[in-house]
Symmetry: C2
DNA sequence: AATAAATATTAGACGAGACTAATAATCGGA
DNA sequence: TCCGATTATTAGTCTCGTCTAATATTTATT
């Protein structure tokens, strides 16, 4: 087995993440995600392609090979398990774990991840509601939709937060929203895309498009 | 605060470790410890000296500054806390943790270490019997002696294993020896430096000099 | 269809961290 | 005390990961 550097792994993970939304992962998007420059990304894509983790079609982005997907899934698994550990066991806030997990996901030990998984009771979802790939790299996908695609009258449960920037998470905290919270859409404002929602208990409030766009919900 | 790279931290830790035995840490010993070349070490010593972590007297080795000692102690603290976590919580063997801790000690998070410390119940010693520096970097030293300096009739308790190579640890396992085991020295063999010892319960057996040299013991 | 804008790649540079080979300093034994 | 062995440093090279600037390609707009 080839071992990848931290930077290679971060690029691989970025490609994986971008492929969740689109057909292909593009240089500029990878660069944006990793706070780096397009030229650096091109170099990395070449290298990862050479090592067989992805196919790079110059000017048309990158797609993962089976090998690349498998490795990306181990990273996602580690990342989410560590986040779960930090929140469940070390009392971190869900807005405080991303950076650390970004480091911890690169720790390479055959035993560590699986032991951690067992220790945590084989959790299915991380603190942000994202599914944790199992030992075999299998990822249980739920059918969720974005809150901003819901319409008046829908009652839904928050399943996941798809962007884990601390600002968003703290905003949700301040509104009392968390994974599992149940909301009813009361009104949509076409002007700014904001929506008024009413939690199960408590007064209704407004959510901007920026927020509702990043909330994955499932029907209640 | 300056942040150090993994390699810089490993060099710093090597210097710290070597200073426990000697007045000064020498290039070749650091190189041996890190499986690298003397010339690489010289470069690193220069860099660490420039950053104020140590004093490098060319041809006469290195000594840590207060800043260097403080940082080394945070690394030792992290290393030993992670080892404790792996053994106590994830059921790793004491011979399986060093490599992983060697990686984990470089994870940089203001919160993580202290939370982990609390989570583990603020342990005083790691799985190899080595003391864990506290939050302030204070290290409680015990007065121990090496088993190979004991004489016939001495009854002692194993306090620590000073070399954590898996081979040694597994050998100890196979003889039923662990931290806290109580032994009586029965006979010394000048020829090869081996000694016969009798555990509290069970038959006496022999320990080579190589082994007894690395066992730190305290009077029972 | 022509051209401007956006995106991507290539070329060339740089610093970090490693190495080998050459040189220098120190140490230890005769 | 001298000389060879040991240890250390310096000089020069290499790879890796990043950057900027120059160039190329694709895409969007008129
Ligand atoms: Mn990462
Ligand atoms: Mn997450
Ligand atoms: Mn290390
Ligand atoms: Mn230890």
């Amino acid at each position: 087995m080839v071992t990848l550097t931290r930077s290679e792994e971060d690029h691989l993970k970025a490609v994986y993440a971008l492929l969740q939304d689109g057909e292909s992962a593009f240089t500029k998007d990878i660069a944006a995600r990793l706070n780096t420059k397009a030229s650096s990304v091109t170099d990395m894509l070449k290298k990862l392609a050479e090592k067989g983790f992805l196919k790079h079609e110059p000017y048309y982005g990158a797609k993962l090979t089976a090998k690349g997907t498998a490795h990306a899934l181990t990273l996602v698994r580690k990342h989410r398990l560590w986040e779960t550990f930090l929140v469940e066991r070390l009392s971190f806030g869900w807005d405080e774990v991303h950076e650390v997990a970004e480091q911890l996901e690169h720790i390479s030990s055959p035993k560590l991840v699986d032991r951690l998984d067992d220790y945590l009771g084989n959790p299915r979802f991380d603190p942000h509601g994202d599914p944790i790939p199992d030992r075999q790299g299998k990822l249980r996908v739920r059918k969720t939709k974005r809150l901003d695609t819901c319409t008046t009258g829908d009652t839904v449960r928050i399943a996941a937060v798809s962007e884990t920037t601390d600002g968003l998470l703290r905003l949700l905290d301040s509104k009392g929203l968390r994974i599992g919270s149940v909301l009813t859409v009361q009104e949509l404002h076409a002007f700014d895309g904001s929506m008024d929602v009413k939690p199960k208990s408590g007064a209704a409030f407004s959510l901007s498009k920026d927020v509702s766009h990043h909330l994955q919900v499932e029907s209640n």
